[in-house]
Amino acid sequence: MKRALERGRLARMLQRGRSRTVRASRPRSVLLLFLLLVFVVPAALAQVRRPEPVKGDAALEERLHKLSQELRCLVCQNETLADSRADLAEDLRDEIREQMKAGKSDKEIIAFLTDRYGQFILYKPQVTPTTYLLWFGPFLLLLAGLAVLFYYIKQRRDLIAEQPLTSDERKRAEEMLRSVSGKETA
């Protein structure tokens, strides 16, 4: 009930707002058109260009797409093989498609490609002695960070730990206090 009321008020407010902005509506529609041109049209065009002609079997295309998303296009190096429109990328996709049709596994296809183009074609590098640092480096850094943290906390705890006064120190402290309070009362 209350919500319905509020909605009614909101609608009225909106309407009022609209009637008030009638005069301003022409520049606003120009702006809207401009925004449409700038943001929507290129996106629509881009979408028209993206999909590749599907050649036959959908499951195979799906598998090809999935695999080629993990592969780098060597011509435009920041694009995946799945997205690239470069000639070579198309050739490589054809090659992969044919190998898939011939019943090769993803692993075999990746081996085929790395034999020719090297590890660089993989966005996800394999775990080999040369990539150990890449794969395990972050954990090493984590361990180093934990060691530093541990060391710091230990030191800090030692620093703030209460150390009871020895009887000598207590005597000296009491003397000091007495002398100070003596001066104050004097």
Partner: protein, 181 residues
């Protein structure tokens, strides 16, 4: 002790800067080939000038030779071409061409116009052989030894510097080794 620990982040930062600085001087387009010191992939393809004759990497056994990937649509190949003609004239190394994804008429026109440095060119219309060689852009140039092993790959146009410093010394060394055998 704790005072020196403060320097660790600075040290790590400097190491990072050093790595990035080295990275800036390298060309990301030059992807090292895994095929170096591996057997050159075999192929048998029709020749450009005489389509009923074939050319195969196997035909070149016992010789040191250069395989240059080129195409008439490739702009850098045009830059490289006069140099290749010059190198071919010296007769130091036989240069063979792999005409990559080109049209026969265009390729022949191109050679007719600019001259032909190649002993022969093999025609790779669908680019399959190029994939076997790990080609990802023309021009690319391979030096292959007597046993059919790829000994060197140059990506991009072969500059005079690359020719005199990379190709010729390696070629001479391979020939010497071949003569010794």
């Amino acid at each position: 002790m704790l005072r020196y620990l403060i320097l660790i982040p600075l040290g790590l930062f400097l190491v990072l800067v050093a790595f990035l600085a080295i990275g800036l001087t390298r060309d990301p387009r030059e992807v090292p080939s895994p095929l170096i010191n591996k057997a050159a992939p075999t192929f048998r393809l029709p020749q450009l000038q005489e389509p009923n004759k074939t050319f195969s990497a196997e035909d070149m056994r016992g010789k040191v030779w250069v395989l240059n990937v080129w195409a008439s649509w490739c702009i850098s190949c045009r830059d490289e071409h006069p140099l290749l003609i010059e190198y071919a004239k010296t007769g130091a190394v036989p240069i063979y061409g792999l005409n990559w994804k080109d049209r026969r008429e265009d390729a022949l026109d191109w050679l007719g116009e600019l001259g032909d440095p190649y002993v022969a060119s093999a025609v790779d219309i669908d680019g399959r052989v190029a994939i076997d060689y790990g080609v990802y852009g023309a021009p690319e140039t391979y030096l292959i030894d007597q046993a059919g092993v790829i000994r060197h790959k140059h990506i991009g146009p072969v500059t005079p510097d690359a020719w005199t410093k990379e190709f010729l010394p390696l070629f001479q060394q391979l020939n010497r080794e071949g003569a010794a055998k």
